[in-house]
Amino acid sequence: MEDRVFSLVVVTPVRQVFEGQVRSLQAPGTDGDFEVLVGHIPMLTSLRPGVVTLRNTDGRSIYAISGGFVEVMRHEATVLAETIERVDSIDVERARDAEKRAQDRIESAASTSVDMSRAQSALARAQNRLRASQLANK
């Protein structure tokens, strides 16, 4: 089992989030969830908002992702995320507040405005964070 690992890098435009060896990467692809293990065929895919799980020898870590891309190469994989955060660092209270604020804004905003689309994506992000933290606490 020792050598069944590949190197993985997780980056966002703002910072590098993870770099290291993992046994598996689970991610929400646009066409459905998938898992990458060592020896996966080279692949490029886009992600929808959801939950990313990394497993290595000492356990798993769960992240909430807002979308992005995964590139799988022979011996390495890369996650290019828009925004991603570790579930342990999610403040559930804040996420609830953000969800509520976004819902209020959606109710008050005109349906075609830029505010509307921004509020909708804010809502999706907040809900995704909440879902991810629920999943992690199971």
Partner: protein, 284 residues
Amino acid sequence: MPSLKEIRRRIGGTKDIQKITRAMQTVAGVRLRRAQDQLFAARPYSDKMKQLLQHLSAQADKNAHPLLAEREVRASVLVVVTADRGFCGSFNSNVIRRALETHSATDLPPSLICIGRKGAETLKRSKVNIIEGYLNVFQALEYSDAMDIADQLIGMYTAGEIDRVDVLYNEFKSAGQQNLVLEQLLPVVPETPKEDPFFTGYIYEPSQAVLLNDLLPQHFRFQIWRTLLESNTAEEAARMLAMDNATRNAGDLIDELTLSANKLRQSTITSELMDIVGGAEAIK
């Protein structure tokens, strides 16, 4: 000849100014470090995105996506990135001068989008068409700012209102050097495919077209973000240098003024002595 009192007053004033410029230099130094951290933090993503596009453009067709396709230029936009604040030497004026040169160099002058208060305010007074000004984004730079700017440009580009987008900004070379850069942003200049012996081709999920459709806007947003980070870092570096010069000039001025104050004091004493000696001679 100014009086001794006058000169002393000027020395006091110059010292006060020196205190301010020194403080501004320190602040710029701190902000430079923060800006540099932010810039370096974006590097891994930059490298990965570049690699990805190299792999992709090795396989993709030039006309696979509207953001890649060259078309006849009937209208264009020049994004001009300056600072929000002054006191940074020739940082802003270099950009503005170059923007005006670029503007008058063609028969089809571009419309301008100004990022940064200084450029927006100065260019407003010349005969250019400014579509939009993004002010005060550099106070607390966030990725969402870059997204807003990028999405506006993509919207105009895909709607056919504009056929080309360039950006003019200061690139951060080192703490002592900034380079003025003019770059084409849209249509996206494809990365030159690199021969990678390990790369044998991907499977795409969903299709390549769908992926390009997601990837190119993301790439473009990131380009804008990188431009903002570069300019922000260069700005603080320029300000630090300008304030360092100002502090040193104030020091020179103080030395000069002190010298002439001493000379004046000396000559006053001498002439008073002469008076006393002359008076004593007369009494004899």
